[in-house]
Each structure stands twice: as C-alpha cells, then as structure tokens.
C-alpha cells in the first residue's frame, strides 16, 4: 500500500532502534519521552495543522488525563486501565463543553482563550492541593501491566509508548485521508466554502478538538503511570507552547512532520546540556533560525523541494495526494 509506506518506514524505525541500540539511554529514556511527545504532537496537529485551529492550552488535557489516572489509582485504589478510560471520558466531556464557545473565536482570540484555559487548569492543579497534591505533586502512581506483564522497565515502556504512537499516527493518517479529514482541511482553507459544501463546520471543529483532547488524555495517563510521579510543572503553559512548537517546527499539516518535530524538540535540549549556561540562548537562537529559514517547518520545508522535483518528472495523475 503506497498510502502507508511512510508509516511502515516509521514503524520499522521504532522497532529497530532498541534492537540495534539495546539499553541505550537515548533510545529507552529520551526515546520514550520523544514517543510520548509525538503522540501529543500528532493529536494537536490534527487540530492545528489540519483544521487550522490554534491551541495554546493543550497541556491542560494532557494534565487532566494524567491527574485522573494518578488520583483514581493512588487515592481510590482503582485499576489503572479503568482510570485511563475514565480519564479519557472526563477529558472528552470537558473538551466538548468548552469547545463550543471557544471555537467560535478566531486567530489570536482563539490563541488567547486556549492559553487562558490551560493556565486556569494549571492553577487548579496547584491550588486544589488536598486533591491534587498541589505543587509538590502526586507520587506512588502504580505502573501498568499488560496481561500480567508489568511495565517495570524503560524498554517495556518503550514498546508500549511506541505502539501507542504508531497507533496514533495510523489513525491520524486514516482520518486525514478520509471524508472527515477533507472536511478538516476544508474548514482550514475556507470556512464559508466548507459550509457551502455541506460541512457542519461547528461540529467538525468540536469533533477534532475533542479528538485531540482524547489523544492528549491518553498520553497523560501513560505519562502518569510511566513516571509514577506527576506535578503541575509538567502541565504548564510552557509545555503547551512546547507542543505547539513541535507541530510548527516539524511542519503544520504533516503527521510525519509532527512526529519529527516532537523528536527534534525532545532531543535538542538533551544535546544542548553540554553548553550549560549557554543552553537557553542557543536553544532560542536555533528555534528562531529554523522558523525564519524554514517557515513551513523542517520536515515539510525540506521535503517540498524534493517532492516538487518528483512531481515535475511524473505526470500529475498520482492517485493519492500527499498528506
């Protein structure tokens, strides 16, 4: 299947890395974080890259998932899997409730509203200390186990996170290349025209907003069980910005770009630690330069000239347009 060839390549990479580099810190530790970020970025990309609805508060949904899992398992002794499901349901409901008024807004107003939402969620995590553990966080969150196979090593978490990431990518690719995906992209292109094609843009926006939130919630739950400790710092405004940066850095409206952006932004600070005090400055400079010279994102920006050369040679009868 040509449509999914990129996906198979990605899957092969995810599977081969720990086999080629067993017990490598960059694979099993940083790699797991990169995979987690990729799940979040792919979800957010559906909303931002494809549907064109900016969100600067995505960490809130990540946090709701994480905290639901943490609170239900540590305070009420729930089974982690049940907690994940409840977390997803709760996040979905919250996202659904806020989506209608928020998605009426456009551009910078939407950015502000989502940003505000994220900050409010974070303040609640900090202030509702009796419930959330406050800024000190919640610890002793049990790990997951799959059919008696406890996820107690970094490698096992790598497999689970990798599988989830691939699942998310697969679903995202399927959606984009479908009736619903075209509806998303259409409303990004022109909301009025999309309406005139019979697309209920309000419902479509709500749908993708909730979908992105659900993905974030799942990622949050996994994060919670993997780290076994969470605190509000991990769900702050800065993390929301980081997620947006991943999507934009990789290239908006490209699922592989989102994965790529997540990987780059996870590894970059890891590699920059050697610069110590210069790290912050260098990170800022790299971010600026990449966006100035590759405004469409690294992945898309580097891919486009290459692809254009391809399409020029072939006659334009390609059956499936690129994602």
């Amino acid at each position: 299947m040509k449509r999914l060839s990129g996906f198979y390549l990605l899957a092969a990479l995810v599977v081969l890395l720990p086999i080629i580099f067993p017990d490598n810190y960059y694979v099993t530790v940083v790699g797991v974080t990169a995979l987690l970020h990729a799940i979040l970025a792919v979800g957010l990309n559906l909303l931002m890259g494809y549907a064109g609805q900016i969100s600067l508060g995505h960490a809130a949904f990540f946090g709701i998932g994480a905290y639901t899992s943490a609170i239900l398992t540590t305070r009420y002794g729930w089974d982690p899997w049940a907690a994940i499901v409840v977390g997803i349901a709760l996040t979905g409901s919250i996202a659904f409730l806020v989506s209608r008024p928020i998605l009426r807004l456009k551009g910078h107003y939407l950015a502000m509203a989502t940003l505000g939402l994220g900050i409010i969620a974070n303040i609640v995590l900090v202030q509702a200390g009796d419930f959330t553990g406050g800024p000190d966080g919640l610890g002793d969150i049990p790990t997951l186990s799959l059919f008696g196979w406890a996820l107690d090593t970094d490698l096992r978490w790598y497999w689970v996170m990798g599988a989830t990431m691939l699942g998310t990518v697969w679903i995202a690719l399927n959606i984009i290349d479908s009736r619903s995906g075209r509806a998303l992209r259409a409303l990004h292109g022109s909301e009025v025209a999309a309406e005139m094609m019979g697309i209920n843009t309000t419902a479509t926006k709500t749908g993708v907003f909730v979908l992105a939130a659900l993905t974030a919630s799942l990622a949050g739950s996994l994060f919670s069980h993997q780290q076994s400790f969470i605190s509000p710092d991990s769900f702050s405004f800065f993390f929301s910005i980081e997620l947006v940066t991943m999507v934009v850095l990789g290239g908006m409206a490209s699922t592989y770009g989102a994965v790529f952006g997540a990987v780059v932004l996870t590894f970059l600070p890891e590699l920059l630690v050697v610069f110590e005090d210069f790290e912050v400055m260098i990170f800022g400079a790299i971010l600026m330069l990449m966006m100035i010279f590759l405004p469409q994102g690294i992945f898309v920006g580097l891919q486009t000239p290459f692809r254009r050369r391809l399409t020029r040679r072939e006659s334009p009868i390609a059956d499936t347009p690129g994602e």
Binding site: T28, F229, E276
Partner: protein
C-alpha cells in the same frame, strides 16, 4: 563487591598515583547531580553547584578519596521535575554514577525518588519538604532542615512572645504550599490560631491586596512562607501599609539578597535559618563554628556572599564522601548503609545523626532564630 573489582580498584589507585595530576582516572568516584541552576529556583541550584565544584576540585587536588579522584556529572533541570526524572535516569543509566546529590526543589526530588529506589541508587536530596523523608524511603536522604522544622521553630518563638493569633501568607510554589500545609498542621500544637490564610503567585509584583485583608484581622503576627521575589515584596508591602505586627519569614529567604531587596523594611523581621548566616557571632565553643567559617571563607573568596543553600551541598558532599570512605568502596548498598550510619557529622546545617528511621538527622537546635537589625542578621537569644 567482589575481589576482582577490589583488585582493579587497587591497580587503578597505583596507576593514579603514578599519573599524579591527571584529572579523571578510569576508576574514579562518579558523583551525579541534577540541580535547578537556572529558572525560578536558581538561587538554590546555583550556589549548590558552585559548592560541589569548589570542593570536588579541592578534594581532587588533595588526592581524592581512597586514592580515587572524584568526577562530577551535572545537569541543569531549570527546576522542572520532568527534566529531573530524565536527567536522573541519564545519571543512572548512561553516566553510571555511584551516587546522586541533587534535586534543589522538592518537586524535583519527589519526582525522582521512585526512580532511585528502583535503581538502588544512593540519593542525597537538597530540597526542603518533609515529605521527602516522611515516610523514610530506603535510598533517599536529605540535607536541609524541613519546612515542618521551620514552622515549629517559628511557632516556638511566637509562643515565647505570647503570640497566639497568626496571619499566614504563602507563595503558590512548592516551597510555599508545603510550608503552608506544615504550618496549618503544626499551629494547634503551639496553641496558635491561624486567622488568615492568603497566597500569592510566583511572579506576583504586589501583595497589598492580601495584606490589606490581613491588616483588618486580629492577627498578632504575620508569617510568610515563600522564596524568590515574593517575600521581599511582602516585607515592603507590610511596611507600606503601616502594619506594625511582627513579621516572620521562613528559611527560604535566608540569604543576604533578601535584606538587600527588602532594605529598611526588613528591620525586625525574624526567620529561622542555619547557623551559617551568623557564623561569626557564634560562641567559640560552638562545634559548628570552625566548619562554618571555613566554608564561608572559601566560598566567598571565589563567588561572593554565602547562602545556606550552598551549605546543604557542602553537607551532602561530605556526608557522601565520608560514607564512601567508611564503606571502602563505591558499592551502592554499602554506601547507602554508611550514609544511614552517619553520626555526629558537623556540617553547615547542623550536627547530623542519621538512623534507619531518620534520613535527615537534624534536630530543631540546628535552626537559629534570627532577627534582622541594622541590615544584618542577629541571633535571637
């Protein structure tokens, strides 16, 4: 630890003495550290790192420990717990350190505790929260006095002054929140009623609204738990509003910077702090005095005014190295046991007596109640 390792250790020792002056030997003691050197808690992490570097350099120049050089592997967390977890893993798995000293903030420390427990890695935390050592976790130790001890010290002083109604104001960061929780829990034991419970954000620039409310209560004193700019602004706002109630701060402001920022408004403010700040004023009979003066002299010669936070790193490093020395190896299990057996160690924070039930080992005496007079610290007798 098996014989082969011991032999290779000896061999390495010989090689090392041959190649005297070489910095890092193949078999060195690797100390890992992750600290909040940048970010909002940098005033903790910065002096901590400087202290570690200063003393490790000095010890290496003097031949190291057990003939081994010490190697420091450090990462800056920016105070972010998620980064702390990732760096702790890096220290354990990639750098394969022998021991970790770090976690400037309680959030960072609490985040890595499950990890070090699983990995069996001795971990000396430099953060304040009482949650770190209560309940005791096998592999985690802690140097700074707890926030509960600070609250107890303050309430004890208030009780002596006949204060029974206190207005509490705290920062919304981990330190402030945890201090608030401990204060609320401890107050009844000292017959103290908390009549007002306000808070402020990390980057807030004005607390007059909260303090105006406090002014209109019947509080007899104000207690502020927080660090960074917050406490200095609180201090200034208190005076601006003409509030004459005694103001207590926590050990979170125990550095000269606080007096600089708050200026005249800081006059009469009381706070519990380690003896380091008033080293010169201690009686000569105090066993801590030489240690404190020595640390102060060395640190200030290179970096400027000391803070108690850097002192925690001094204590942690020396307790760790003494434990390694006693253990005769860097076997993690043995080192852990030896840290737990630390007795009568005189550090900057006080005299440490650890036990399996107490991974801090400080008593309330380790805190001095200080008052700011004429822009300097004085000891309240």
């Amino acid at each position: 630890m098996n014989i082969r390792k011991t032999l290779s250790t000896i061999a390495a020792g010989i090689l090392l003495s041959l190649a005297a002056g070489q910095t890092v030997a193949a078999d060195s003691i690797k100390i890992g550290s992750f600290l909040a050197v940048t970010g909002g808690a940098s005033f903790l992490g910065d002096p901590e790192l400087k202290t570690l570097q200063l003393y490790i350099g000095e010890i290496n120049a003097g031949g190291g420990v057990n003939g081994k050089q010490i190697e420091l592997v450090h990462y800056d967390t920016g105070g972010n717990p998620k980064k702390s977890v990732s760096f702790a893993k890096r220290l354990i798995q990639k750098d394969k350190v022998d021991l970790i000293i770090g976690g400037s903030t309680s959030g960072s420390t609490l985040a890595v505790m499950p990890l070090v427990d699983k990995a069996g890695m001795p971990f000396i935390s430099l953060a304040g929260s009482v949650k770190i050592i209560k309940p005791v976790k096998r592999w985690t130790f802690k140097m700074p006095h707890t926030d509960a001890m600070a609250a107890a010290k303050i309430f004890g002083d208030m009780k002596r002054r006949g204060i029974s109604k206190v207005a509490l104001i705290s920062g919304s960061g981990g330190f402030g929140k945890s201090g608030r929780t401990q204060s609320l829990a401890l107050a009844p034991q000292y017959g103290i009623e908390i009549v007002s419970d306000e808070s402020y954000g990390k980057k807030d620039t004005d607390m007059t609204a909260q303090l105006t409310k406090i002014r209109d209560t019947d509080a007899q004193a104000i207690l502020n738990f927080g660090f960074g700019t917050g406490p200095a602004i609180v201090t200034k706002n208190v005076r601006q509003l003409g509030i004459t109630l005694p103001l207590y701060q926590s050990h979170g402001v125990a550095s000269k910077k606080y007096i600089d920022l708050a200026g005249d408004s800081a006059e009469g403010v009381r706070l519990p702090a380690a003896a380091l700040l008033v080293a010169e004023m201690l009686p000569d009979t105090d066993p801590q005095k030489p240690v404190l003066l020595d640390y102060k002299r060395k640190f200030e010669a290179k970096f400027g005014p000391v803070s108690t936070f850097g002192g925690h790193a001094y204590d942690g490093l020396h307790i760790a190295l003494e434990a390694i020395d006693r253990a005769g190896s860097t076997d993690k299990e043995k080192v852990r046991d030896q840290i737990e057996k630390t007795q009568g160690f005189i550090g900057t924070g006080g005299v440490y007596n650890m036990s399996p039930r107490d991974h801090l080992g400080l008593s309330l005496d380790a805190f001095k109640m200080l008052e700011i007079k004429n822009g300097d610290w004085t000891i309240v007798q």
